[in-house]
């Protein structure tokens, strides 16, 4: 880009005025006359036969308009019997997943009935009147137990194994036979919950005159939602409008289509009234997807000098009771990223997806890749500890060198670019790594336990080439130059905090030479915006922004033709220069995009054959994923008397390519670090052996308060990518991916004097205290 004033600037976000003044419109803020309210009746059991679902008393409640059971929806109304799952796996078992349960419930919180009343309070009252008789069935929540045999979550399958995916590259057996050391470790990546502060929220309305269904939903994927509504409800897609208004956080939890969205949409068509459903936090913990929940068994073959020569891996993914939209895909992404930023030619692996009586796991910020980064970054430290090497040197020894790009990994990804050592060295310099190690040694003599943890992550994002995606991977953008010169941008991605109303306007302002304030970026409404795939997988700017760049190029090409015609110049001699149209070598001639747009509108002085109007819709099909990387360094001190972890320092040096708005990039990194750090330290979804959810409120499930997280220092390197025309890589998930192992490695490093090798997350004080005292009996290192 020749002309840059906005791109790269820390400008205030254009979406913020409505948010800071309380004038934004989230789903629950949508007020429509005649709205009625839904309340769902949910299973209190992890697995049970439904003997009776009696809604008659609820229906008799004076405020109730309607109530439905699974039988009503599926048998009486003939609605499609299974909710969608997007995958390209040949042998995947896909048991039926009803909107409302029929015959059997398989997870606590599964909806068995729905009640519609005049007010939200009355709906909840009436839902209490629904009588359900259950016969409890055996429950299994542990995936290792579930994969061995009964009880079965879906008895008709005769197994709990949804799929097995074997994988082999190189000669792993030979590598293990020749190894100096073999390290075995089981690493559990515990189940966590996305916890967007806005829970799932939806309101559906049926316009009988227009025969149009409108669903406002707190979703990351309005167009995909519309498509699935059409498929599941058997409606014509062009009579459905899905709107993602202001969305209060997603983190993957809203990269899904949920039973409730179909149920209330269908009810709206029946009652011809707006039907609203806002889940409670407890319902959210039960029925919004969870993330992670993998048991990863590693065997690492290495040479004495720290070179890793082979990896054996079994990834067991706890899928939950049903497939949600991307459930089975997630653990396969873990395998893809197993080598991390290292040359590991020999890998033998198996991915096993297992059903249990728990909520479905699916894409949660990072979605399969954090699990890989966690175990491979833990593996580096395990190798260092076993061999008595510095973890930095083990990483250096195994890095893909910066001269080796593009690099195709043993799992088949092609990293187009990377420079891991430079980024790591920058981080080590900033924190004074040698000084920290010295300080650590001094403190240990005083009985104080400092831990220094590194994570040199690489991740795959900018999802992604359509061929490699379970559904379309492209995205779209439209630019309209309005007759009066303002610019309308319609983006197919659906930002919900990522700030693309600002960054996209920054790009357009520079490229088309218009004031940023004359640009309006519109998203999230399928009746306004051309089809787009949505915001997830750190793709919003890497794919949606790339589509925008293509649309800019189309606009520029047309503006050049118009200007050349007006000037009677050869179009080849006309160009965009500093945001304006001019003649090469002739500074006297100049035309703005707005002027060219106005001429295109007037239509009376256009080159022969050129259509009037000035707009363009373009789609970007990514030729590859992008691969942001970085080094995170975490320093902690663990109190041997209490097991309490205190953060001493946190530094992230990330490389996401070009920074469009550094302020927004930093915000993404901050939030990502907090979420990853929080998985390491605090968070865990717990089901007991009966399938009861023990972490069903924010009093039991620990997302961090401001006091519990440290200050983060950030820096970056810039290694551009050629995968997209903006030279950018996604940054939405990198913080989450990089931080978890940095924190865990720091804690394990602090506890190394106690002979501790590995402790599974979350690293709660009691676990650390027990580990410190178990080995020595007195909380003092040997």
């Amino acid at each position: 880009m020749a002309f840059t004033t906005m791109v790269g600037a820390r400008i205030r976000r254009r979406e913020d005025p409505r948010l800071i003044t309380g004038r934004a419109t989230y789903v629950d803020d949508v007020k429509q006359v005649g709205t009625v309210y839904a309340a769902f009746v949910r299973s209190p059991y992890g697995h049970a036969k439904l003997l009776k679902v009696d809604i008659s008393a609820a229906k008799a409640h004076p405020a109730v308009l309607a109530a439905y059971t699974g039988d009503d929806l599926h048998h009486a109304q003939g609605l499609k019997t299974s909710l969608p799952v997007a995958h390209k796996m040949a042998d995947l078992k896909t048991p039926p997943h009803y909107m409302l349960a029929i015959d059997e419930v398989r997870v606590v919180g599964e909806a068995v009935a729905v009640v519609i009343a005049d007010t939200a309070y009355a709906a909840k009252d009436a839902a209490e009147l629904v009588e359900v008789e259950y016969e409890q069935l055996p429950v299994v929540v542990d995936p290792l137990k579930a994969m061995e045999g009964p009880p079965y979550v879906h008895s008709s399958l005769g197994t709990n194994v949804a799929f097995r995916m074997p994988f082999a590259a190189g000669d792993t057996e030979a590598a293990f036979a020749a190894a100096d050391e073999i390290i075995k470790q089981r690493i559990v990546n515990q189940r966590v919950a996305p916890v967007s502060i806005e829970p799932r929220s939806m309101v559906a309305n049926w316009d009988a005159g227009m025969q149009q269904l409108t669903l406002y939903s707190s979703t990351q994927i309005p167009h995909l939602l519309r498509t699935q509504l059409a498929v599941v409800l058997g409606m014509s897609e062009n009579h459905i409008r899905a709107i993602a208004p202001e969305v209060g956080g997603g983190f993957g939890g809203k990269l899904n289509v949920y039973a409730e969205e179909f149920v209330i949409s269908w009810i709206a068509t029946q009652l011809e009234r707006p039907v609203k459903y806002i889940e409670t936090r407890s319902e959210s913990f039960q029925a919004m997807i969870h993330g992670r929940d993998q048991i990863d068994d590693l065997e690492i073959a290495c040479k004495r000098d720290g070179t890793i020569t082979g990896l054996k891996l079994r990834i067991v993914g706890n899928l939950g009771a049903y497939h949600q939209l991307l459930t089975p895909v997630i653990p396969t992404l873990t395998l893809l990223m197993a080598p991390g930023c290292y040359r590991i030619a020999n890998i033998q692996a198996e991915v096993v997806g297992v059903f249990t009586n728990t909520m479905s796991t699916d894409a949660y910020r990072g979605a399969g890749r954090p699990e890989a980064t966690f175990f491979i970054e833990r593996a580096m430290d395990l190798v260092a500890q076993r061999l008595g090497l510095d973890p930095v040197e083990v990483r250096r020894k195994n890095f893909i060198p910066n001269t080796a790009f593009p690099h195709t990994t043993s799992t088949g990804l092609t990293y187009d670019s990377g420079d891991y050592e430079t980024t790591m060295d920058k981080a080590l310099n900033i924190v004074d790594y040698a000084g920290l190690r010295k300080r650590q040694a001094e403190l240990r003599k005083e009985g104080r336990y400092l831990g220094i943890g590194l994570s040199t992550y690489v991740e795959v994002c900018g999802m992604g080439p359509s061929a490699a995606m379970p559904a379309a991977g492209w995205d779209s953008a439209t630019i309209r130059v309005e007759p009066t010169g303002s610019i309308t941008v319609l983006t197919g991605v659906s930002p919900h905090g990522q700030g693309q109303e600002t960054t996209f306007a920054q790009i357009v302002a520079d490229e088309l030479g218009v004031p940023i304030d004359s640009i309006n970026v519109i998203h999230g409404d399928t009746d306004k915006v051309q089809y787009g795939v949505g915001t997830f997988g750190s793709r919003g700017t890497a794919v949606g922004g790339a589509a925008l760049k293509l649309a800019i190029e189309t606009i520029q090409a047309k503006a050049i033709k118009i200007a050349a015609h007006a000037w009677e110049a050869n179009p080849d001699d006309v160009e965009y220069r500093d945001g304006k149209i001019g003649v090469k070598g002739d500074p006297s001639r100049s035309m703005t995009t707005a002027e060219a747009g106005f001429m295109a509108f007037m239509g009376d002085n256009l080159p022969p054959g050129l259509e009037p109007g000035m707009d363009a819709t373009r789609r970007f099909e990514p030729p590859n994923f992008v691969f942001p990387f970085g080094t995170h360094v975490c320093v902690v001190e663990v109190d041997a008397q209490t097991g309490q972890v205190e953060f001493v320092k946190y530094l992230a040096v990330d490389d996401c390519g070009r920074l469009l708005n550094p302020m927004i990039v930093e915000g993404q990194v901050h939030g990502g670090i907090a979420q990853g750090l929080s998985q390491a330290m605090f968070e865990e979804v717990v089901y007991n052996d009966d399938g009861q959810l023990l972490t069903g409120t924010l009093m039991d499930y620990a997302i961090p308060h401001a006091e519990q997280v440290p200050h983060y220092d950030l820096d970056h390197t810039v290694t551009p990518t050629t995968v997209n025309p903006l030279g950018i890589k996604g940054i939405g998930e990198a913080g989450t991916i990089g931080s978890t192992p940095a924190v865990a490695n720091a804690v394990m490093d602090a506890l190394a004097p106690f002979g501790v090798v590995h402790i599974d997350m979350p690293l709660k004080p009691e676990k650390l205290w027990l580990a410190m005292h178990a080995k020595t009996g007195n909380g003092r290192a040997r």
């Binding site: 205030r12 254009r14 913020d16 005025p17 948010l19 800071i20 003044t21 309380g22 004038r23 934004a24 419109t25 989230y26 629950d28 803020d29 007020k31 309070y121 916890v195 967007s196 502060i197 806005e198 829970p199 202001e246 969305v247 209060g248 956080g249 997603g250 806002i278 936090r281 007759p483 009066t484 010169g485 303002s486 610019i487 919900h496 905090g497 004031p515 004359s518 703005t592 707005a594 002027e595 001429m599 007037m602 302020m663 930093e666 915000g667 993404q668 901050h670 939030g671 907090a674 409120t697 924010l698 009093m699 997302i703 961090p704 308060h705 401001a706 006091e707 997280v709 200050h711 983060y712």
Partner: protein, 191 residues
């Protein structure tokens, strides 16, 4: 039952069930939707408002308990024409992403500064322990509150949204004045 309260300086009267929560009275009866609900357990603080000038979680207050009292919601903290310094600080320091927790966070921060006009970072973090944010990792929230506190101590002039992000017509495009926007554009094109 009859409930009379003052919300953002205006009298409001409603006839409601005794169990009606203040947050639902504000959002669903009075129509002020800037106050949000994020949990059922007073954990998240998205619903924070001022009751007689002191922050409360309006999901844990019955509307009837606020009868005869003064409530200030985010809409009463500041407006687009006259932003509260704390609102401006959250904007300038990128103290928000999805915005859902933000309104409660700003109200809590305003309350915190009443008790401690010059808090340290640690005091800010401790002071906001009743408010959860999942987007920002709190880094820029702390920065925002620090900046807001400074602006308030220094009695910095109040700004409007328009001051900070003017919506002006596109440069060298027709100005939106007088007879509407299309006419001068046509005139310009025809001359």
């Amino acid at each position: 039952m009859q409930i009379d309260l003052t919300v953002n300086g205006k009298r409001a009267s409603l006839d409601a069930e005794p169990r009606l929560l203040l947050v639902h009275a504000l959002r669903d009866v009075i129509g002020l939707t800037g106050t949000h609900v994020g949990c059922d357990t007073s954990s998240c603080g998205a619903c924070t408002v001022l009751l007689d000038g002191v922050s409360v979680k309006s999901c844990t207050v019955f509307a009837v308990q606020a009868s005869g009292h003064e409530v200030t919601t985010i809409e009463g903290i500041g407006t687009a024409d006259e932003l509260h310094p704390m609102q401006e600080a959250f904007w300038s320091a990128h103290g928000l992403q999805c915005g859902y927790c933000t309104t409660g966070m700003i109200v809590s921060a305003v309350d915190l500064l009443k008790r401690n006009p010059d808090p340290t970072d640690e005091q800010i973090r401790a002071g906001l322990e009743g408010n959860l944010c999942r987007c920002t990792g709190y880094e820029n929230i702390v920065k925002s509150v620090r900046a807001g506190a400074k602006a308030m101590r220094e009695h910095a002039p109040l700004h409007s949204v328009r001051d900070l992000m003017p919506i002006h017509p596109p440069a060298e495009a027709p100005p939106p004045s007088g007879e509407g926007i299309i006419i001068p554009a046509l005139e310009k094109a025809l001359t």
